[in-house]
Amino acid sequence: MSLNGRFLKKGNKVGSINSLLYGVVQDDFSFPIWKSWEQRAFQFFFIFLLLLTLPIDFRFYKLLFSIDWLHINFYSIFQIVRYQTQFLPINYLPKWGIGSFGNWGVAAIVAFILSQAWWHYSSNYLKNYTALNYWLRVILRYRLASLLIVYGFIKFFPIQMPFPSLSNLVTNYGDFYAWKIYFQTLGISPKYESFLGFIEIFAAILLINRKTATFGTGLLIGFLGNVAVANGFYDIGEHVLSTYIVLLSVFLFAYDIPRLYNYFIKDDKETIADRFKPDFSEKKLSRIRLFLKSGFIAFILLYGILTQHSFAIESYKLPKEQGLHGAYGYYDVTNFVLNHDTINYSFSDPHRWVDVVFEKWSTISIRDNRPVIVDKTSGEGYYDKDIDRNYELAGNGGRHYYYYTIDSTRRLLFLQNKNHAKRFDKFTLHYTFINDSTLALDGSLDNSDSAFIVLRKKKLDFLMFEGRRHPVKN
């Protein structure tokens, strides 16, 4: 039975939305009648998925129009692409657990009500949603591909998980949150991170081709452990987005499941291929298609170039100003004098420093015996000021991090605690290089009249750098 005439009057209303929507269906396509549960399921998912996918949120446009196109960087695009519609502002939702999916709940309820109405008011039952389903899949395919592109490139050019800073390298394993361990473990192997990024980009390219989309989603499902599941278990904090990625992958993959089922399980019969092949012979349609496709490819190229550029000049999660020249290193605190009283090595004295790290950039980290208030964010924002670049301290409960500026004529360091809860913690130290590996600091510390500290550089011959390949004495 052909329902062609019911939907499709090619040539009659050229230019109308209807003719555009249905124009993709081949002339000789015969519409199978969908079962009523198929129709109802489609109606629900159509609304539900579009609610989650379409940018129907003024905040999205606020973000979009706040982009400074003259000084664009990858992060502005990254932020827009990963933005998810908030029916309920995300600040009012719980960060973890089922409550964090509040916006999905809203979308599901709205979709349920609207799909009931749709079912009720649609004039006849013999419906077929081939064309609508095609367009829905187009939107979802590109949406999924765009997410994979933005997350794929920041792994391919490994800036999402940068190599751990020296301070983090000399932090005890138990002093990290699980997400930080996950990030750092990927971070120590930039090549593997690039490989995972490549897989995401490759899947995205398979997705923007209708015919290979199933292979793309299949690949994604095969790499689920690296993408979504890890997000859930390690409290990485992007679990709503990564669940959305899984939802789209499964929905898109499901399209071919009946055929795969027939092929593998009912393997004594011939398997009928999908007969729907979009027809872009209509000029207007093909022009729109060309425009959108090339737009998407331009987006991939632009984003790829911007990410590469960012990778080449700086790792956006790490501070960028140069640290004190020649000071980079891991220091033992050999002398610690407070108010002219020498405090020996101690595991309990609240003032005594245990060790100090000078990073290559404008950060000093100090380990002492006082508790650390952990920065609970993921440190993934893009900040201009070094003091705000907090990836190095996020999820680290072992060290205190200070941002510093240098007055090299007076040889002064102005330090300020990077932790938002302790920004008031500021002090100034005068520095003297006694020799290449010894640095003396003096000034006022912890409301004392005077402090005198001698730091001695330790060797950086760590086991991780030695590797497993030779017998090591370490």
């Binding site: 390298l169 890890a230 092929y263 595991f347």
Partner: protein, 499 residues
């Protein structure tokens, strides 16, 4: 059918017709290229799927049913591809030369296929052989995946960090250690990864789901292979070898799936199944039944039994002194009666100490040691006494200790001690709880002769140790428990944010 040779074009046309005819008839005759390719692949897969070293068979004959553990079954399913040569260099253990045996096997397969082609000029197709080599490959891969999956479903391969590890710098671990630990810190993620290997294995057991299982197995093991290279983890070749078998199995249906989904053409799969006589059916049923019984339910049972009954191959099983588990500051340290002040740079004075739930004491001094590099045992790279320098096959011999009725714990040190810098030393102890004496022995495989005998006294949050250390000096140590809370254990979702 006779072909008249008018010109090449005609010939091609005719040939194509013939080819299509043949395909429609159900691939009765294969092309010469296909025949040759099949012979190569057949020999190659056969070489990969049959254990080719004697240790495998002697191992099976030595099995004692009464003492069987998951290790025995694992050593059966985790056999390695043939090893024609052993290259002892670094490149041979970690680099591309590691693949030499897989490449040699392929060369041998080409040679054998050449001879085979010379001998056999009559056969038109190998549907039957193709069927049987797939059966072999399917079950080999399936049992392998199930075995590797089970050590994660019952998390043993990667486990929660020990207290010693929690108090070790990130950078004081080798990359493999870090890779394994980052899995171990999330129990359910480990279990998930286990199922990601187990489920493809199960799918491979059924003819109709085998291709799906093989495709999943190929993707998963390919990822494992890359990760092994990235982290020098050492089992890249076995993972690649599984991926090759998975790819071989997937290739059976892949052209059809491509045709169906990408070209959108109808397909009628040509799946060849041999017909069996009644007695053959009977044999087939029982062989299948017995093998599946051993390598699926019995395997699951043995891994589960080991996991829940203190036979975790990465966790020692002797219980430690009760109520001592924790991290300790060293409040007082006397060497031969003389107090040494706290100094993290001291090579003799302990700067901290840990007690685990099991009988293990660790402490940190500023003194290096030859470390156990956590390489472990792989028959692929160790032949007799050869190649033991780069590999350390003797750190996982828990079962051997157990068989000779010795404490297995000194054979379970790879996780606790391996892959970490030597400043922290780990000692196994035997506690005489009546006389309050600890008999300690270094767990490091390179320093097993270091022993100490220490008296102990326990009070709330304090342990005092005194006696003779590994250098025959007398020591007196006061340990005070630190009430440290670890961010890793507390978790990001917890309300606590001060540590």
């Amino acid at each position: 059918m006779k072909l008249k040779l008018f010109n090449t074009m005609e010939l091609t046309l005719k040939f194509n017709e013939l080819h299509e005819d043949v395909q429609e008839l159900g691939a009765n005759a294969w092309t010469k290229t296909k025949l040759f390719a099949f012979r190569v692949i057949f020999v190659y897969i056969l070489l990969l799927c049959i254990p080719t070293y004697s240790g495998f068979y002697t191992g099976i004959f030595k099995l004692k049913l009464s003492q069987i553990t998951y290790n025995d079954l694992q050593s059966i399913v985790a056999f390695w591809p043939p090893q024609f040569i052993t290259i002892q260099s670094e490149e041979g253990v970690f680099g591309l030369l590691n693949y030499i045996n897989l490449i040699l096997a392929l060369l041998i397969a080409f040679g054998a296929a050449g001879i085979w082609t010379g001998l056999d000029r009559k056969t038109l197709s190998y549907n039957k052989l193709y069927y049987w080599i797939r059966v072999l490959a399917r079950y080999r891969l399936a049992y392998g995946m199930i075995g590797w999956g089970l050590k994660k479903i019952f998390p043993m391969q990667m486990v929660w960090p020990t207290i010693g590890m929690l108090n070790t710098h990130f950078v004081d671990m080798v990359e493999k250690k870090l890779y394994w630990s980052h899995v171990g810190v999330e129990f359910w993620y480990t279990v998930f990864l286990g199922f990601a290997e187990f489920i493809p294995g199960i799918l491979l057991l059924f003819r109709k789901t085998a291709t799906l299982g093989a495709a999943l197995a190929a993707v998963v093991t390919f990822n494992i292979c890359i990760a092994n290279h990235a982290y020098d983890a050492g089992v890249a070749v076995p993972a690649a070898y599984f991926a090759i078998i998975g790819l071989f199995l997937t290739s059976y249906d892949l052209p059809n799936i491509w045709k169906l989904l990408v070209k959108q053409e109808n397909v009628k799969p040509f799946h060849f199944y041999p017909t069996f006589t009644k007695s053959q059916k009977w044999i087939r049923f029982w062989v299948k039944f017995v093998f599946n019984l051993i390598f699926v339910p019995i395997s699951v049972f043995l891994w589960g039994y080991g996991f829940f009954n203190g036979n975790n191959y990465n966790i020692p099983s002797t219980p430690g002194l009760s109520d001592t588990k924790g991290y300790y500051n060293v409040s007082l340290f006397k060497l031969n009666g003389k107090i040494l002040p706290f100094n993290p740079n001291d090579s003799i004075r302990w700067s901290d100490a840990t007690f685990e739930a099991w009988s293990s004491l660790s402490y940190r001094t500023n003194r290096s040691a030859y470390i156990d590099r956590m390489i472990g045992y792989s028959p692929l790279r160790v032949k007799g006494k050869k190649n033991r320098k780069l590999n350390q096959p003797d750190t996982q011999i828990a079962d051997w200790f157990a068989r000779v009725n010795k404490n297995r714990d000194l054979g379970v040190t790879r996780w606790e001690v391996g892959g970490m810098a030597g400043e922290r030393r780990y000692f196994f102890y035997n506690a005489d709880t009546l006389k309050h004496v600890l008999y300690l022995q270094n767990k490091n495989v390179n320093a097993r002769d270091e022993r100490q005998v220490l008296n102990y006294s326990l009070s709330k949050n304090r342990i005092i140790l005194w006696g003779i250390n590994e250098f025959n000096d007398s020591i007196y140590v006061v340990l005070d428990k630190s009430l440290k809370i670890y961010p890793l254990a507390e978790g990001r979702q917890s309300v606590r944010s001060e540590f």
